[in-house]
Subunit: 368 residues, 2 copies
């Protein structure tokens, strides 16, 4: 048994949890910078809740609500400028993966004299500004990971950096903030969370400890399958989805993601397909490719999920997302090439290379 | 779903794990204070390993190897004096629960102007000296908890304090350090670890997250039952025991312990019975008392353990420890009274009071 676990974020999980813990915000200083996107913070009610709380606790604040989906580095620079002008003591990231990941990048660049692009090649010398993360989707798990995924135009892809300083200090995980999501987003993000768990579980880097979290997340996801089919998301189901997303975060913190994420990035970058949707496309192909290498794990996972084989599970996934994208031969080649620049392809149980990844793309997006 | 998880310790689990991570020691300063007991650090080989490593990393060190079993406050004061004289930058606690718990108390008193007795009533204002914990028994889980249990002569019992500052910065968990333990100690401590998991699982404070750790620990313990019967502790079994102890630590960090620990303290304090042994005596009585309140949990646990009922499981436990202690009526009254001063008795699923605790003592130590 060999593993390393480091996850210093204080996780506070439950309905209305920020209100019971207002005093914790004060520990980080007198001025908060709220980082969020155009809509999720607002529609979910989380932004209003946080502002009400900050007022009550007499903490001043400023709001940067320009985070774009899959934030490009230029968007991060804009946030850093804003943060430096406002001189905040700590950051509150509210939203899906994009605002929380942006918060991590801005928090790092606030205290380290680096350009956004340097985040991918430099270790942080100074601790980031403290971050409080409040997810409003149940997918990313970013509230408990050190990862931040950003879009890099120069490299035509998404790229992630990570630092021990990028773990949020506190994650307030309140599933009621997902109530306002369109069903399509609830499902896309739920599939992203599942994919984190599954990619981690099958990863070459998986270990006794990470598998506990991955299987626990898969187990929580399995309780939501009927709800997904019926578009019937009760508060209990939303709790399970949030928990599965959080477990996925713990799992990938230990193992990283896998080929599916590497393949999905281009679908998001070039085709503007949501992250969860993009991952979902490749789950079946990935499972089929690896089945003979990790037959027991595949079997165990399907049993937990309640599907008789990969095909049946894939049908469930694909029937719950829009699946209309097609790629040309040239696009497939380019995307596979880009996927091969991502380190996480090395986590595949059965080795992959460019031609294998091309095949996986073809299998899905050409209907072969 | 409601819970709070905070466990900031970096856990590095595996054989020879300190040697692969020598550089981490340097992050904490130039001089280490090693805190250990008379024998466990030495016999296990851990002390020699740590000293060799510190030399290699050019970190100077001093050794306080006077930690007594169930360390009394006077013993802590002695350690604090030594630490202040030596002016160390960080502490390395090596041993079973006693040295690691002593390390937490000494680390706290080094940076806070308090008397040892104040630890039970005052929050720490200043961060403790950083602690690296290296367990040499698989029982306490102290390497990942904020708890420190000390003997208090004035109160004629053991008492625990906890602080967010008392989490070790790093836990190096290497099960090979348990190879040199007498079988009796291996078993006593294994039962302590099990008891942590079980007391947490059945606790009123248990929750979705703590139950994951508690059941995982019980599951790991269940793989060691034949080995315990046969006194056949392979390296794989030692890994499972260490993992179960670590899981128990995670579980009780969230929920605290329960009645069993409250009852065991007097057996250790007055009768010099080891902590694990003391707990083991009361497992059966505790399970029987609570069975009707938590029937499903009891059933699930027995199923994981592979026993058909509480009686059969209790027989297994008691046949593997020396069980020769008897108590007078007066002792039973006094111990039950002392147990009632411990907060953890409130974690019992079915409410307990002094007379119920007296009955539990009688059931076990008078053979009723």
């Amino acid at each position: 048994m060999d593993f390393t676990l480091f996850m210093p974020t204080k996780v506070i999980f439950g309905k209305q949890c920020i209100f019971e813990n207002g005093h914790l915000f004060k520990e980080f200083g007198k001025k908060a910078l709220i980082i969020t996107g155009k809509s999720s913070g607002k529609k979910s009610g989380a932004l209003d809740d946080v502002i009400a709380l900050l007022k009550k606790e007499e903490i001043s604040y400023c709001v940067f609500d320009h985070v774009m989906n899959n934030p490009p580095l230029e968007n991060i620079s804009e946030g850093v400028l804003f943060a430096k002008k406002e001189k905040a003591d700590f950051i509150i990231g509210i939203g899906g993966g994009s605002p929380i990941d942006a918060a991590k990048a801005i928090a790092a660049l606030y205290t380290n004299e680096l350009q956004p692009m340097d985040l991918f090649s430099h270790s942080l010398k100074n601790a980031s500004l403290p971050i409080i993360a409040i997810p409003t989707t149940a997918g990313t798990g970013s509230e408990v990971t050190p990862y931040s995924v950003l879009s890099v135009r120069e490299l035509k892809t998404k790229k992630s950096f990570s630092s021990p300083y990028s773990f949020p200090k506190i994650a307030f995980i309140d599933s009621t903030y997902t109530r306002s999501l369109p069903d399509e987003v609830t499902i896309d993000t739920a599939f992203d969370a599942f994919s984190h768990c599954m990619e981690s579980y099958l990863s070459l880097k998986s270990n006794h400890q990470s598998e506990l979290f991955a299987l626990e997340g898969i187990n929580a996801f399995s309780k939501c399958i009927s709800a997904i089919k019926n578009r019937d998301f009760t508060d209990d189901i939303r709790d399970y989805l949030m928990y599965s997303s959080y477990m996925g975060g713990l799992a990938i913190t230990m193992t990283g993601t896998n080929v599916i994420h590497a393949m999905g990035y281009s679908m998001t970058y070039f085709k503007n397909i949501s992250h969860g949707h993009a991952n979902t496309l490749f789950v079946g192909a990935f499972l089929r490719y690896n089945q003979s290498t990790v037959p027991e794990k595949t079997e165990k996972m399907l049993a937990i999920l309640g599907f008789k084989d990969i095909m049946q599970f894939e049908r469930f996934l694909l029937s719950n997302i829009k699946n209309e994208v097609t790629l040309s031969e040239e696009e497939i080649r380019e995307y596979a090439q880009l996927a091969c620049t991502q380190k996480n392809i090395n986590n595949s149980p059965k080795k992959v290379d460019q031609s294998i990844i091309e095949n996986m793309y073809s299998e899905v997006v050409k209907g072969v």
